[in-house]
Assembly symmetry: none
Homo-oligomer: 281 residues x 2
Amino acid sequence: MTPPKTIEALRASVLENYDSLSKRLQQIAKYVLDEPNDFALETVAVLADRCGVQPSAIVRFAKSFGFDGASQMQKLFRDDLLAGQSSLGYAERIRQFKDEVGKAKVTGPMQILSEFVDSNILALGHLREDISERDLNEVIKFISDSENVYVAGFGRAFPIASYFAYALSRLNKRTFFIDGVGAYYHSYNRSMTSRDLMIAVSFPPYSPETLETVAGAAEKKCKIVTISDSRVNPLSTHASVALTVKDGEVRQFRSLSVSMCLAQSIVIGYAFQNPKDIASD
Amino acid sequence: MTPPKTIEALRASVLENYDSLSKRLQQIAKYVLDEPNDFALETVAVLADRCGVQPSAIVRFAKSFGFDGASQMQKLFRDDLLAGQSSLGYAERIRQFKDEVGKAKVTGPMQILSEFVDSNILALGHLREDISERDLNEVIKFISDSENVYVAGFGRAFPIASYFAYALSRLNKRTFFIDGVGAYYHSYNRSMTSRDLMIAVSFPPYSPETLETVAGAAEKKCKIVTISDSRVNPLSTHASVALTVKDGEVRQFRSLSVSMCLAQSIVIGYAFQNPKDIASD
DNA sequence: CTAATATTGAAAAATATATTCCAACTCCGA
DNA sequence: TCGGAGTTGGAATATATTTTTCAATATTAG
């Protein structure tokens, strides 16, 4: 017998077969339908207690619906709990997804492209929930209010940073891209003021250049916005707003698509609040 | 020592003491902050695995924040998970969210982010179909076979090009990024040979720099791969392989997420065919 | 450089949890 | 009332998970 694959399927099955269940099993069925959360989190012992039955009855119940045991049934409830908690649970889903595709052993470039596409789609879907409206608005207000914008980002973060620099200057914002050419970046700090904004993009391993630049900017009381992929990062200490992005990932390699999407949303959001500057991208 | 009573208290405490934690404990701290769900549901063993530490380290972590053990700490996360799980179903919450952003003055930044996400998801889905396996394989073979790779891309294409340059050189491929600093790009042509590859990324309006660089490379019989968003573009004349990407678009503004996804797939595809060079991304 | 101190990994021990088993029980039809 | 199929409780067993311990390693101060 094959077990239900989703909570809904299980519910349906329980409802349908309810009358043919034995007394104890009906007790449990009632509880399953009423308190799915308990089933996600509690041990079979306490479940049994709450239903007023023996632990073995819980196992029997699970088996009678096609599961290997109570534990396997609990997985269903846990996954569902996580799915409902989407903004928090997507890392788990990405991992689940990775496990799935991991099984398909073929590793042609097309396969990689496909995995990358899927994982980016998943990750993009959650960007909405990971970024708060308040933060987004605040960042855009910072850009609007600042005299000059400094942008820093090295290594993997460079493409994102360079987009900011390019796009903002196209929108007639005075923007300086601290690109490390000529190890010139020290001197930027000198001219920063509290009316300026620094946008720092950085992913592990955090480059010392970015750190130094941000620290320098902080000394000058420059507003600081950081974009990173973890809440804990050496930059956020100084940040006025710290945006966190979870990018897609395929076999160790993290994507930049979602970070790029965020960067562009910020720029475009800014552009629409200052329509006179829009020329064309 | 008395343990935090709420997740927020715990978070605060972790953040506050982060610097004084040992290396392993910091690893765990990061994970605690970034993936609270995992801590609610997974066993100590898998948590340890995901943090890259020993199970005992997780217990130590919990104790260092005043808990009796890891299990007690997990209770906190579980309670929180349950609390956050309002009576609303998932679908309903999404709907609510959509309504919210729908109401927000039609062009709030959050609305733009949301539209951008949607359009990128759509566009990503098409990427699979727009790129042929043959082309993808050929590009990767070009990279493998070439002595040197030259990468060019200006304006909006710059972030994509810079990613290629960064990632390929990390994989120990001899890569030259023609970045236009010092209008230096003319001279690159001189050293190109038929054993080299040029990757040119360009979107309208096609920058004369890219055009000139590509033309120069063609003269030297250099292999040429172009990435663009239209089949008809001044670059493709010279191209051995011309990849075409349709990026997402929101109110005039074209995204770069899909192009970035393609770029990364190429690089990773290359990396997997030359495994010895993979260090970390 | 050395010694004291702290951190870490690995595995053993303790604990908790799930599952199986079987004797006792219930229910029903003959 | 009897017999048997199906159900149940609870103990026994198997499994899994967490916690402790300790030797090895790394870090720090003198």
